[in-house]
Amino acid sequence: MEFDSSSPIWLQLVGECSRRIVTGEWPAGSRLPGVRDLGVELGVNPNTVQRAMAELDRQSITVTDRTKGRFVTDDVARIDELRAQVATAHADEFVRRALGLGMTAERAVQLISNRWRAMEGESA
């Protein structure tokens, strides 16, 4: 994974893990890879992974069982909420850029529905 240079790496890891959960790559209720394995996979320091995991726990996106390890929450509503949160962040980014280009809300919405139709069926 490529990290952008301006924000803390642990925050970018929270983003990456959230993405994996809402896309179903890590399904609800499934067991997460260990901190060390994730560190090796992503080329990141295990302490940084640990910090990201603690944040996921804090947000109740994951739950940690002392003996069994860390799992994605089986609370589907919580995952839906996270999906909305992730999508909102992307939408905000789009709106910011559209505003920067001097677009009106109507044109931007029109553009999105056109592109939606054009791209539907493509894998994300």
Binding site: G39, V44, N47
Partner: protein, 232 residues
């Protein structure tokens, strides 16, 4: 626990002070990048910590010990220059390491060889620069040491090999050990580092946790490094 403590360390070569009143402390469980231009004192510092350079002025503690036999027993040092006999096979080099260091862990070594796709029967003279560096990293990281001192472990190897080497370093990281690695290739190592110590003219210029520095300055440590070295 404190893994390395350096207080007011000065090292003179004749009239020239390679290290000048250096002070810092590093806790166990961290991967720390020692950053700085050529000639900033990185290698001198690592050699003193490894117990292979004396005398010096000031206080140095490695795992609570002054540099000497006790500190060396818990310190795995990978020098800048190759220290292995070209005629050896990887297998024989591992045997030398095992004979020399009581804490050499053969299982770890075999795991790392597999991770690097190296064969024990390969002769060192037949290895590319990147493969040789990997073999040396496998040896150095297979000791059950408390302190790992790696001098420029990724310089002179291609980006793909760098990536694999860095992953190998975090692969067997123990919570009670410290890895201190010097480099000038900051962008490559940044994601595996907990902290950085930036040096210039034998002194500490900036020291801190990587993610804290990124947050404070709104830029990567690599970008910060370039900036710091411009105004320093």
């Amino acid at each position: 626990m404190t893994a390395i403590e350096v207080h007011n360390l000065t090292k003179r070569y004749g009239g020239f002070a390679a290290l000048s009143g250096l002070t810092f402390r590093l806790e166990e469980g961290n991967v720390v990048g020692l950053l700085g231009e050529n000639g900033s004192g990185k290698t001198t510092l690592l050699k003193i910590l490894a117990g292979v350079s004396r005398p010096f002025e000031g206080e140095v503690r490695v795992g609570g010990h002054a540099p000497g036999p006790e500190s060396k027993a818990i310190t795995s040092f990978l020098p800048d220059q190759s220290f292995l006999d070209d005629g050896l096979r990887i297998e024989a080099a591992a045997q030398q390491y095992a004979d020399f260091f009581a804490d050499f862990n053969r299982a770890k070594f075999d795991d790392l060889l597999g991770f690097f796709r190296l064969e024990p029967r390969m002769k060192l003279s037949a290895l590319s620069k990147g493969m040789r560096e990997k073999a040396q990293i496998a040896l150095a990281m297979s000791r059950e040491a408390k302190v790992f001192l790696l001098d420029e472990p990724i310089s002179g190897v291609d980006p793909a090999a760098r990536d694999v080497i860095l992953r190998a370093i975090v692969r067997h990281l123990e919570p009670d050990s410290l890895v201190l690695l010097s480099t000038h290739l900051i962008a490559d190592v940044e994601p595996v580092l907990d902290r950085v110590v930036m040096m210039r003219y034998g002194q500490v210029l900036v020291e801190g946790a990587v993610d804290d520095l990124r947050e404070q300055h709104g830029k990567s440590v690599d970008a910060l490094f370039r900036e710091v070295y411009q105004w320093a």
